[in-house]
Symmetry: C2
Subunit: 241 residues, 2 copies
């Protein structure tokens, strides 16, 4: 039997190709197969664009690109089936001795699909090696975009998907110096109401597509009310600001 390939989870950073790491570059250059989630969301292709920008001209075209269907659904059965199918496709490559880089925007262990596939791979092909290459996350990239610290000294920070529920967002805002609300697009007006009630509106900043060409920063967050905002958006509320 030939030697098994290794599965690499590779964080390509927040979107600016200059924020890719040397380790990510080396792995991406070396592997014959690049796997990426295909969820129907734009972020998937953005990750591939970052990789294309980082590699030498034409190098990406010599690699096999595996687009793995991983839908954004809450339906547990179809979710598990899709993940299992995606993992099987990766496992086939590894069995052929091919190393696979699964690319992800940001970091592979911070809100990425990669961490769902690893335990499934351990079931299907327990002897396969898995390695993670950390990346710059969108939350510190967003801090750089707005030119303010995410957190200093003895402060605490909570990162909460805005879909977590208003009571949990309120708790986070009460207990932490900085709160990052991810996926703010889904509950924007409710969050604006809560910030107003808590007297925190002036401390909130909206960031869409941090570090991407289409980056958007809005400091007057009330002006966003009623607007349909980007999926790749967050709000940073820094109480000490």
């Amino acid at each position: 039997m030939s030697k098994l390939g290794v599965l690499y989870g590779v964080g390509v950073g927040p979107g600016d190709p200059g924020l890719i790491t040397f380790n990510a570059f080396r792995v991406l250059k070396a592997v014959p197969v690049i796997a990426m989630p295909d969820s129907g969301r734009e972020g998937d292709s953005v990750a591939l664009t970052v990789v294309r920008g980082a590699l030498d001209e034409g190098l990406l075209d010599k690699k096999e690109i595996l687009k793995l269907y991983l839908p954004m659904t809450k339906e547990a059965g179809s979710l598990r089936r899709a993940r299992l199918d995606a993992t099987r496709v990766i496992a086939e490559c590894l069995k052929e001795g091919l190393d696979v880089a699964f690319i992800t925007l940001g970091d592979p262990l911070f809100y990425s699909t990669f961490s769902y596939l690893v335990p499934l791979l351990k079931e299907i092909l327990p002897e396969a090696g898995v390695a993670t290459v950390s990346g710059v996350t969108s939350i510190t990239a967003a801090s750089a975009s707005i030119g303010a610290p995410l957190t200093e000294a003895d402060e605490s920070v909570a990162v909460v998907p805005a879909t977590y529920g208003m009571e949990e967002i309120r708790n986070a805002l009460e207990h932490h110096d900085t709160v990052v609300l991810m996926k703010i697009n889904k509950v924007l007006d409710g969050v604006l109401n809560l910030l107003g009630e808590m007297g925190l509106t002036g401390m909130a900043v909206y960031i869409g597509r941090a570090s991407w060409p289409g980056e958007e920063i809005v400091r007057d967050v009330e002006s966003l009310r009623g607007r349909k905002v980007d999926y790749f958006s967050m709000m940073i509320i820094r109480k000490g600001a």
Copy 2:
């Protein structure tokens, strides 16, 4: 008057020189002056070691290295004086038209001294340009070291310095899927008591010096009781684990 230099806050990543970004590398290669905090802590020299490892042989020796005395004290007066003095030294270089890279482990806006200096520079030399180069943080590097996601899907994560107080740590553990306790060395036994009481001991992992050569991972956290642990250590408690 000559053109002012630019101050760059450069995150060099968690400690592995391979986790430096292309943008950080470009800035470090180009600037004539590298500034670093000198707090008496080992982390300062680790950041410089990472830079030395990333740059071509001998290149660092051709640059001016500014070691800025920034003590780890709680005394507000001497803290402000030290920060002001450090900022003045940087401002002098900028006035001579020299670009300065202030290096920091991890990210310059995530628990770094850089964010204290920026507002002081705006006071002293308001027209100076400031830019931030984001870096990989220790918290995702630590997740990679233990091979587990920091956070998935709709989960929330809180990052809390262990010095924040036990009631705040309890609140974070009650309300978030993952809690990262920074600076765990100061309050280790108290945290172990709290984890035991809340039934979370088995979900905690200790990580010292994530991604450094001397990295240490301890999954049986109770075995650390009474031990003097590293300053560069954290504990990750993942409730879904």
